[in-house]
């Protein structure tokens, strides 16, 4: 079971969180013309990376905040965690 550092609450076990997918995906702005390809990329196409991956988790049984977690998908190592609004360099 992973041990995740919630930027709001501190170290908490994985069973307090729910997984939310790739955090690097950007939603196209509202009311903007979007090509089929762009929309498909946003809704469906994911890289399924092996290695470092920036992903979303929600601290659902804690502070209910969505957070960003930088995790290695093959080793489960967690490098850094960020608040929802933090931009990740």
């Amino acid at each position: 079971m992973l041990y995740i550092n919630c930027p709001h609450c501190g170290m908490r076990s994985q069973n307090e969180f729910s997984y939310g997918g790739d955090a690097s995906v950007k939603r196209p702005e509202l009311n903007k013309e979007v090509s089929d390809q762009e929309w498909d990329d946003f809704v469906y196409n994911r890289k399924s990376l092996r290695g470092k991956h920036l992903e979303l988790w929600q601290h659902i049984s804690g502070c209910r905040q969505w957070i960003k977690v930088e995790r290695d998908t093959s080793t489960h190592e967690i490098f850094r965690t960020f608040k929802a609004e933090e931009e990740v360099a």
């Binding site: 079971m1 041990y3 729910s18 939603r27 979303l56 659902i60 209910r64 969505w66 489960h76 609004e85």
Partner: protein, 998 residues
């Protein structure tokens, strides 16, 4: 009852406390502190089971967790448990156990015929034979295998024992209480670290209980006792025996199974049977020790052949002789330690040492005691069927290829030592890259992936002095980093005998003309010849060899067989062992009770139960409940001998003619507050929300980004910046997360707060033509006329002195209202509605009637919003705004979603107006078409229309728009039904929606 193999005194058992027990129906005695194994051996019982494949007689091979043979079915306090190792099960008064794997009995076993037919059962036999012909599998092979094989039977009764889960955090978790575990625990504890020390056996001390050493001028055993006694007094230390750490998971999470009650005849009141510990440790010290390796020789599975360390443990810990004419077969000095113990207790052993001329302090001691030692000698084969009677022995050449003349010597047990294998399971599970250590012919932990350190013999260090030095230092250094304390503990002086190099010899060659079975894996009956066949047939990867031969796949996971298997593969393949590599170690290290894994989450505790505030009223009024997610909801209120069908029809009918009341507390409720609330709703729902006035409700549909309908419900504008959103019961939690996702991540600029208020409000839906009359009586001071409170209107009212919210919304299609009060007043509200409603013929209605009402109105619910439908499919496209953007809108342009013949909701009526259509039935054009019959759609929900008094269903049907009036067939192969049907409008009752506005 004579315990003929118990020595006069000595051992750690309590000879003042005699315990009686039964094995295979026969009564015996043992002592408190015995295991079932030691007690049986004290009584001279060596035959305890039959092997898995050939059903050969099986005795005891080890004295602990490594035991491959002695697996029994245990009976305790009216319960039974399979797969219990007799070497681990502590004796208690009245214990009963039976052999497994033998039918009809351990002494006469029908399966043993496999032993004589073994030519037919080589490696891969199961793959090759039982696979074909396919039809034989279920009828012939499987029942035979299940009857003849297996390792006991699971109980089919309810398990009355209780199991607990515990979550714990610590600085240092130490696995094993041998010399390295005790030293590191002591050093860390003295630095103030929070330490958990876990020992799987009942007694602490590990190898110190049986070895002849001195630490700090005391015997190793006394030193261990002193350390444990001190650790137990320290508040920062948890010391646990009977506790096996069996799994090392991600981020230094380890799981431990504590046997709380297995050693007692009966679990104490309020105590669990077992406790599963989830431990998150900052540092893990693995001091799990090592397991002696067998040397492979002919018939080496005969009862009486066992590990030399086990024989020593039975003698030193339990005071039991495993034989009175022991033969010790060794390639290292450990065998001599066992021989010396025998000699000290008046038994003359013979030592066969494969080495030519070994020299060490231990060997000198054995010589001085006058022990008969034969160098360059090996056991070729054990003789005897149910027990060792003699051994064929021979001298062996220096290159270990040629045997001398075979001699036969009498013996009643053969104690084998092929050197030691470090127990690296936990380190390997943690992700440690293990490495092969040439000097000890075994793998040891290499580079750590997590915060884990392996110490002592588990790390391939067999000198006590070295072990103490490294363990004290590891405990002290690691704790210092965490606590910043440094109480430099002096390392005690050590006296131990030096041993000499072991012989890299693990398998005795076959003498000419003999084909003795030489076993590698004792539990799964995998012999040298099986591995040879697998390699000959082209299997190369050790993982494939393992699966083909089942080597190391038994419940002992190859604790005594893996390395010898690797040696064999490397020898035949002409590779070094590290090039062959070992198979992956996976948790659990040793079998864990399913009960312990499940814990308290059984029966009604398997999930939480949510009850509405009116639950007790429903109970008192004969409600029959149904699970709705984790909620319990009344399905119907039973009157007399009514069936579900009769009751729901009565309740629905009463709503259509008089007035009914339904508990709708379970609906998800979300408070949406803030100046940008309208903007949020406008983006989340498909329809327009910016112009909804205060005091008005609106029905909304929300989509996922892929255009699929996620949920629906009404949202009401309570005040300028405050909305009350409702969701379906099932989606409440998902919708809240969904809103939080957009507010926190996508549109953080929106000034809105959302919070669940599901628990805060009790809700009652009042529906039917007389509902307004009832409402007027409930709220005499409010104007609830059609003008005062029009359809989709909202007002606050005074309900017998309590503040209530009144919504004019309808799910039943009738004139209807929903009244909400604060949860604690729920029952008060309900009782008053029932009381005042009496004169209008009010009846409560449950979810079954609720479904009927919504189905015949064509209102969609979870069975249509099933994660596969878009608004059009549910005839909700009128709610999809063309002007504004919203979540999922772009997806609706996908060609499949705009296709002319897109699926759509329709009504379905059986032609005979009699036969109910099972939900899930497929709609097809031709009921005689060959399978698979092309499916045009499926029945999503069915009811008995109370309006027309005939069955009615909803369906999602391909090109549903153009199918009205068509005749199709509803087929349910599950219920074996084919029903001719007609497609009608989904709005079966009141298609213009006049009633809700009346």
């Amino acid at each position: 009852m004579n315990q003929a193999f118990r020595i006069g005194d000595g051992g750690l058992v309590n000879r003042d406390k005699k315990l009686s027990f039964k094995f295979n129906g026969k009564s015996y005695f043992g002592f408190e502190g015995d295991t079932l194994a030691s007690a049986l051996l004290a009584n001279g019982v060596h035959l305890v089971g039959r092997s898995f494949k050939y059903h050969r007689p099986r005795g005891f091979f080890g004295a602990g967790v490594d035991e491959p043979y002695a697996i029994v079915q245990l009976y305790r306090n009216g319960e039974t448990e399979p797969n219990i190792k007799a070497t681990e099960q502590e004796l208690f008064e009245g214990l009963e156990a039976k052999s497994v794997n033998c039918w009809p009995s351990v002494n006469f076993d029908i399966g043993a015929i496999n032993n004589f037919l073994k030519i037919f059962l080589p490696a891969g036999f199961y793959y090759k034979t039982f696979m074909w012909p396919k039809s034989f599998w279920y009828r012939i092979y499987e029942p035979f295998i299940r009857k003849a094989a297996g390792l006991g039977v699971a109980s089919t009764k309810h398990d009355n024992e209780r199991y607990e889960h515990k979550y714990e955090y610590c600085d240092l978790l130490i696995a094993g209480s041998g010399p390295s575990g005790l030293s590191s625990a002591y050093a860390a504890a003295k630095n103030g670290a929070r330490v958990i020390l876990a020992e799987d056996k009942p007694r602490f001390g590990g190898s110190l209980l049986t070895s002849d050493v001195n630490i700090g001028n005391q015997s190793g055993k006394d030193w261990a006792e002193g350390i444990i006694a001190e650790l137990k007094t320290m508040p920062n230390v948890v010391v646990k025996n009977r506790s096996q750490i069996f799994g090392y998971y991600d981020h230094n999470m380890l799981v431990m199974s504590e046997k709380v009650s297995d050693h007692l005849p009966k679990t104490k009141k309020y105590h669990p049977n077992k406790r599963l510990w989830y431990i998150r440790a900052k540092e893990v010290l693995i001091s799990s020790g090592s397991i002696e390796r067998p040397i492979v020789f002919g018939n080496n599975d005969t009862p009486g052949v066992m590990l030399s360390s086990a024989a020593k443990e039975y003698l030193k810990v339990y005071g039991v002789l495993v034989g009175k004419k022991p033969l010790v077969f060794t390639n290292n000095d450990s065998g001599y330690e066992t021989a010396i113990e025998f000699k000290k207790h008046g038994v003359d052993p013979i030592v066969l040492d494969s080495r030519k001329n070994p020299k060490s302090e231990i060997i000198d001691e054995a010589k001085n005691l006058g022990i008969n030692i034969k160098n360059s000698y090996v056991v070729v084969a054990a003789q005897g069927y149910k027990k060792v009677k003699s051994a064929e022995i021979a001298s062996i050449s220096d290159d270990k290829k040629k045997l001398g003349k075979i001699e036969s010597i009498n013996c009643d047990c053969i104690c084998v030592s092929g050197f030691w294998t470090p127990t690296i399971h936990l380190a390997s599970q943690s992700g440690n890259k293990t490495k092969f250590k040439e000097e000890i012919d075994a793998f040891v932990p290499g580079v750590s992936k997590q915060n884990e350190t392996t110490l002592g013999s588990a790390n391939g260090v067999f000198s006590l002095e070295e072990t103490l030095k490294t363990s004290f230092s590891a405990g002290s250094e690691l704790s210092k980093k965490i606590t910043k304390n440094d109480n430099n503990i002096a390392i005690p002086n050590v006296v131990e005998k030096k041993s000499s190099q072991h012989d890299k010899f693990w398998c005795v060659p076959l003498p000419k003309g003999k084909n003795y079975k030489r076993f590698l894996d004792f539990q799964n009956d995998v012999a040298v010849s099986d591995v040879e066949i697998a390699l000959r047939e082209g299997y190369r990867s050790i993982e494939h060899v393992k699966r083909y031969t089942t080597l190391g796949m038994a419940t002992d996971q190859g604790k005594t067989s893996n390395l010898n298997g690797l040696q064999l593969v490397s020898e035949i393949e002409n590779k070094v062992v590290p090039a062959v590599g070992h198979t992956t170690f996976r948790p659990p290290y040793t079998p864990v009770s399913i009960g312990a894994i499940v814990g308290r989450e059984v029966g009604k505790h398997s999930k939480p139960t949510r009850k509405s505030p009116m639950h007790s009223w429903h109970e008192k009024n004969n409600a029959v409940f149904v699970d709705a997610g984790v909620w319990l909801r009344p399905r119907y209120y039973k009157r007399g001998n009514e069936t579900l069908f009769e009751a729901s029809k009565r309740e629905a009918k009463n709503v259509r003619t008089n007035v009914g009341v339904c508990d709708v507390t379970t609906l998800g409720k979300i408070d949406v507050k803030g100046p940008d609330s309208a903007e949020l709703l406008n983006r989340v729902y498909t329809n327009a929300w910016l112009k909804l006035p205060v005091g008005k409700a609106r029905y909304g549909v929300m989509l996922r980004e892929d255009g699929i309908v996620m949920d629906d419900g009404t949202t009401t504008r309570i005040s300028e910046n405050h909305y009350h959103m409702t969701t379906t019961t099932a989606q409440a939690a998902n919708v809240l997360s969904h809103l939080e996702y957009y507010l926190q991540l996508i549109w953080p600029e929106l000034n809105v707060n959302v919070v669940s208020t599901t628990e805060q409000w009790a809700g009652a839906a009042i529906a039917g033509p007389k509902s307004r009359d009832l409402l007027q009586k409930l709220f005499p001071n409010s104007d609830v006329s059609n003008e005062g409170l029009p359809f989709m209107g909202y007002m606050e009212g005074d309900f017998f002195g309590i503040k209530a919210r009144i919504f004019r919304i309808s799910f039943s299609g009738e004139l209807a209202y929903e009244v909400n009060v604060e949860s604690d007043y729920g029952n008060f509200m309900w009782e008053n509605i029932m009381k005042v409603g009496e004169e209008f013929g009010i009846q409560p209605y449950g979810t079954e009637a609720l479904s009927t009402l919504r189905i015949e109105m064509g209102h969609v619910a979870g069975s249509e919003l099933d994660g596969r439908t878009i608004p059009y499919d549910n005839a909700l496209e009128g709610l999809v705004s063309k002007k504004k953007d919203f979540i999922g809108k772009r997806s609706l342009q996908r060609s499949a979603f705009t296709a002319e013949d897109r699926q759509r909701i329709v009504g379905v009526v059986p032609l005979d107006r009699q036969t109910s259509i099972p939900e899930g039935s497929h709609l097809v054009k031709d009921d005689k078409a060959p399978l698979p019959n092309p499916k045009l759609g499926h029945i999503s929900a069915s009811c008995w229309s109370v309006e027309y008094d005939n069955p009615f269903s909803l369906a999602i049907l391909k090109d549903g728009k153009n199918m009205i009036g068509q005749k199709l067939f509803a087929m349910s192969p599950l219920k074996n039904k084919v029903i001719p049907v007609e497609i009608v409008s989904s709005h079966y009752v009141d298609p213009k929606g006049e009633r809700v506005r009346s």
